[in-house]
């Protein structure tokens, strides 16, 4: 029950207006993704609440058909390379 990366991105952008979403297919199998969501509306919002906003945008698919989604959230002015991909 995989989801396409484009579908995940579209849901997040629809749920969090102005968000930029970067999706990485981690295993190349269309089932293990990492998503980095950058949004101005995250300002002043805790990590847990930011993640809840993204989960809400995904409309109940998280934890169901969408199991393997690594999720990080950031503000637009976060320094470059501050994401988890930094080695």
């Amino acid at each position: 029950m995989a989801m396409a990366a484009s579908e995940i991105e579209a849901l997040i952008v629809a749920g969090i207006p102005g968000a930029t979403v970067e999706i990485t297919d981690l295993a190349g199998d269309g089932d293990h993704y990492a998503a980095r969501v950058v949004a101005e509306s995250f300002r002043g919002v805790s990590r847990v609440e930011r993640t809840r906003l993204v989960y809400a945008a995904l409309g109940g698919r998280m934890g169901a058909e969408l199991h393997a989604l690594q999720l990080t959230t950031a503000l637009p002015d976060a320094p470059l390379g501050s994401g988890p991909e930094q080695g």
Binding site: R47, V48, T51, R52, Y55, G60, G63, A68, L71, P84
Partner: protein, 115 residues
């Protein structure tokens, strides 16, 4: 397929578990044999921090497996609790670990370190 009384019993069991441990991880599998990459990552972080923690294998208990999602209003597992407070899942743990916030939280809460 749980009725309301079963669900509230599960939630009460979860609240009891969360209250009894300073650091508690709900996970899939055990610390020695995590059954999912996210749980494995959460365990690695706790071990790096050298913190004393308890874990609950949700795969062994369907009531807890479903109940924990309602308890925290959080749809995924693992879930970390420190001193009864929900901290987050493995992605949040990783972000907090990398920024030093998780260590700070452990420090501030006066949680015991592993031997």
């Amino acid at each position: 397929m749980t009725d309301d009384s079963t669900q509230s019993a599960d939630l009460a069991r979860i609240a009891d578990l969360v209250g009894k441990s300073d650091v508690l991880l709900f996970m899939k599998g055990s610390p020695l044999f995590p059954q999912c990459g996210f749980s494995s990552r959460a365990i690695a972080i706790l071990q790096h921090l050298n913190v004393q923690f308890d874990s609950v294998d949700v795969l062994q208990d369907q009531g807890i497996r479903q109940g924990i999602k309602a308890f925290s209003d959080w749809p995924t597992i693992p879930q970390l609790y420190v001193k009864g407070e929900f901290v987050g899942g493995s992605d949040i743990m990783m972000e907090m670990y990398e920024s030093g916030e998780l260590e700070q939280l452990i420090e501030d809460q006066g949680v015991a370190r592993a031997e």
